[in-house]
Symmetry: C2
Subunit: 331 residues, 2 copies
């Protein structure tokens, strides 16, 4: 029955969560309150946590497998920003009383698919009921050699600013879901929506960049390019100038922008990109392009680090583009 | 203004959360998406996660500092069950729009107090808004020598069953908050309510027990004695018999039970105890009592591990006490 109540927590664990932990020895079969992670000499664990709420970060009617995968991938993208190898994750689920077992089954199918894709396993967590909307929290663990994580504070004057993949797709995809692009080719809309629902954490690229030793500062773009580049500038004590005509925009996004040119804001301030943003010496450009070829992810040099503290967007004619939006507001 | 909206996420971080991370070098001042935990050869990290929801696990009108401390202590109690040294924690907060800054300030004061008490620091997290009730999730990290964590599955036939402190106080305290013990001495009620609101994670005791090497199986009591002893029996493939007259009951709980004798259920099935439950060879009794003296926490031998799979409570006359409640139902 679609509206049937969920079974008890121990049944849920046995039926849905334990299989997700089967490949994670330290998860102890989820038969304990804790999980164990063997430590390795000379390594650092990278930990990150994010919460998503139904009606805020996703819609109640969204496909539950995609909700699960996005929840996981947003955290994996944080690990990618540091070039960490993913290790595992814990998850706490506060679920409304009307959550159905088919919903939870599809949710866990999504997790299983991404566990296989990214080579991670469930370590533990907690499931509880809520009178409010579904509220899902993930803590992801990754690993890298001690001292090798690129900081946000490492950008240097004269550095080139690089970004992976294309920008704006996710934010434009959300607007497609809101039917804001009447007349947009269905395949283009589907592609943008897919980018919104299913981020591509750039783990292999992040690891290759970290191993190269060429990166001075790095992070993933989740709040929008201007906001996140602003974080690097703030912590590195520098400014950045971005050439708007260099911003990597995919074919589907170009089709959407042809309908609403003002939506270009989504490209530099929309958020939900989950691409990598980093700086490196200008002289490293060729080596970085080689990494792009090796990993199969496009890398584009979009600007330059300078003095001061601001982030400036400049158009092809040399005019400064004013931007009010500095990314996603959490409050 | 009491009803004023919270400031933006970055202001919140700077004003309230960054000070909590000041003593945690790997937290990177919360200026990054991730935290770094240096790994140690020969050690294991112990990780555990729990979520609490306003209106389910605490009341909206509960003092926010106590909400914060209980949220943290419930996780620390899981670490205590393994004898882990606490390292740090991550926290995700989904807060309603009407959350006030004074509420958050007191919430963080509670965290600061417990960080000092237990020697831990904030590593990272996420704050977001929710249209529902406040939903708070913590992932706690602890550490112990690799291979030294007592499992739930280690109980052996003939083992003695031990429990720390006193049982039932927290569950009786909740019923005091619901005014179910008319006529109970105010000091007794206050003491029980305090135990409900402020669990005492038995970290020092857990560490001493783990170091002793005497413990065969261990966990903290959070779902109620019968339910949690049931978990040990299930995973160890054994049964347990508990002598009801041996259950450690404090003076305040005795006063409450004098008013409502049926409330004895809370002692063995109420939950919210956060005491340690463990098994050890009967011959270790003297050494275990020495640990109780060293750590200043009472330890009581309450029963025996046997064959089969059940948990049986037997009263002083030798009669089996039927129990339907096997602890807190999460769904």
């Amino acid at each position: 029955v679609a509206g049937a109540k969920l079974p008890g927590e121990f049944e849920l664990i046995g039926r849905y969560f334990r299989p997700l932990a089967a490949g994670t020895p330290g998860a102890l079969g989820l038969g304990d309150d804790v999980a164990l992670v063997a430590e390795r000499a000379g390594s650092e664990l990278v930990v990150t946590a994010d919460a998503v709420v139904a009606g805020v970060h996703f819609l109640r009617e969204d496909p539950p497998d995609l909700v699960a995968r996005k929840m996981l991938r947003v955290n994996l993208s944080d690990l990618a920003g540091k070039g960490a190898e993913p290790v595992g994750y814990l998850m706490t689920l506060a679920l409304p009383a009307d959550t159905t077992e088919p919903w939870l089954a599809r949710f866990c199918q999504g997790l299983a698919a991404d566990q296989a894709e990214f080579g991670i396993g469930l370590l533990g967590g907690d499931t509880t009921q809520t009178p409010g909307p579904a509220t899902l929290s993930v803590t992801a663990l990754g690993r890298l050699p001690a001292g090798s994580a690129p900081a946000r504070s490492g950008a240097r004057q004269g550095d080139a600013v690089w970004v992976s993949g294309t920008l704006g797709d996710g934010a434009l995809g959300l607007r497609c879901l809101r039917d804001e692009f009447a007349g947009l080719d269905a395949a283009a809309a589907a592609s943008l929506i897919d980018r919104y629902r299913l981020p591509r954490p750039r783990l292999a690229l992040g690891i290759a960049l970290r191993k190269s030793g060429l990166v001075h500062a790095a992070m993933d773009v989740s709040d929008g390019l201007v906001a996140d580049l602003g974080h690097i500038c703030e912590q590195s004590g520098c400014s950045a100038e971005v050439a708007m005509e260099r911003l990597p925009i995919g074919a589907a996004a170009r089709a959407a922008l042809a309908i609403k040119p003002d939506a270009i804001e989504e490209v530099f301030a929309g958020g939900d990109d989950y691409e990598l943003l980093f700086t490196a010496a200008a002289s490293s450009a060729e080596a970085i392009q080689a990494i792009a070829r090796e990993t199969g992810v496009a890398l584009t040099m979009i600007g330059r680090i300078g003095q001061g503290r601001s982030v400036v967007l400049r158009d092809a004619a040399g005019r400064v583009r004013p931007t009010e939006r500095t990314g996603y507001k959490h409050f």
